[in-house]
Symmetry: C2
Amino acid sequence: MSAKPTDVTAADWTVAIPDPDLLSALGPLPAGMRAVPWDFDGEPDGARLEEIDAVVLPYPDTAGALPQLAKLKNLKLVQTQTTGVDGIAAAVGRDVAIASAAGVHAASTAELAVGLMLASLRGIDVAARDQPEERWRHERRLSLADRKVLLVGVGGIGREIARRLEPFEVQLTRVGTHARDDSEGHIHGTVELEQLAASHEVLVVITPLTDDTHGLIDAAVLAALPDGALVVNVARGAVVDTEALTAEVVSGRLNCALDVTDPEPLPPDHPLWRSANALITPHLGGDTTAFEPRIVRLLQQQLAAVAAGKAPRNLVQPGRFGNGST
Amino acid sequence: MSAKPTDVTAADWTVAIPDPDLLSALGPLPAGMRAVPWDFDGEPDGARLEEIDAVVLPYPDTAGALPQLAKLKNLKLVQTQTTGVDGIAAAVGRDVAIASAAGVHAASTAELAVGLMLASLRGIDVAARDQPEERWRHERRLSLADRKVLLVGVGGIGREIARRLEPFEVQLTRVGTHARDDSEGHIHGTVELEQLAASHEVLVVITPLTDDTHGLIDAAVLAALPDGALVVNVARGAVVDTEALTAEVVSGRLNCALDVTDPEPLPPDHPLWRSANALITPHLGGDTTAFEPRIVRLLQQQLAAVAAGKAPRNLVQPGRFGNGST
């Protein structure tokens, strides 16, 4: 086969897909485009490495795939199945476009955040632990209704959490990196976190882990929360100062519901394991049945876009799609 | 004090309130109306029994109060703090109006229903039980997103469950006593339950317990549910055939999340206590902080309505408000 033209037309692209099931789930590709299964080991079936124009990375672990990308001499687009894109730009350079799967995991993670809030506030976790001992303890509980909820993180998943909370009669305050307004109202900046914490009973963290957000929910923010407040983390463990949180939870002053921890899993004998007012789930966030249909839909949309000469969604690095040719 | 006129004007009514805290939470009453605390034992402070025009029943247990109502010779309105009104008409006769607190408990019960769905589907209950043993078990789970949910019960709480489910990307099918349409679409009749069950992965029950709904979710409906389906009950235990449900759950074919059971609590050694795919909560439904502000708001609205010569909301028996005089 001849080398591909390098202009933006992508109707004749060859796309490597890491999983034959995913490939067959995609159904018919746009006319002229072809997909080949490739497990990032050796040559793909039915295409040479230099014929590959676009590649979909495996899920969830991309560590083995990244070193193989340098072999794809005509690579123009890397599409992830994850929200994060760590290490990809370093592996492919600046000229290859990188698109994330932002949005694909939002439904699953956002519903878990609401589930953790309800489970902790309403004592579903306590009841689940009481059950094998046939213990029936009825007590008046905080409802989610009427709670003042501080949502730290207003990206894709944060938006989905906010959308799901809408019918629950809460008062929602949103916090992003910088103060600004959007169509839903005001977003506070993280500099206001400590002051805002004092008036909120539920703090939900869904911000990416970066140098700026490492330890963002620190001892001062936690100390500012009112007695009995609940900290929910569905982001990354290190966004919260685990030592400070542990002290507040073990003392009984705060409650927490954590799908992510630092380190993860928590080490044996960590005090949070046995704290009655801590709820720890094993990083259930994105890994549900919701993933499969959503990644298929995203990939179909992305391939249709590039076949039509348009930019794909979720471009983290624009590559050839960054020069207005879309 | 002279006897009150018997026409519909209620600006000068005397209202007995069962709890001094509730009385003070009501704030100023409509001009001319007065409230007195009365614990349904002896005479109220500041009023004779025959001066009482309206009474608010205690919460949650009304059994001790009902026999006292016959002593109120000028009683015109009974207002409950519960959704149910069992036994009141028998205690006061047909001429006294009875208004329920329908709506007051809806937020709390509806959010619990969503919390139970999320906890069971996403394995929050399993994680809570694993936690004291420091066990971290990650596995792919069903999301609530994409589930086909069958909601049995379209009264006040059913509506609030439906409203809360809206942003969760579920396919909701509603079932009421009789097939009909409303502003939200079609409501199926209970005669279709068995047929509908076959195509739904989550069955949520929030129908009042009546002769017609006793055992409504019977062995045939349960058998029709697909393997791995989840049964959530936030209604009354006896709406579900507990024996049939237990068999399906203990066999591992179905999952359940029950805030109500039959009997309640479950007896010692009942197999559901130790079923890993059962989640039992101790009738947490309506008993939360959401109750207090909502009952206060309802009572304020009801007293304002009658003071203005209008019918109160939630009339279960119209009494004097039934003749068009409102």
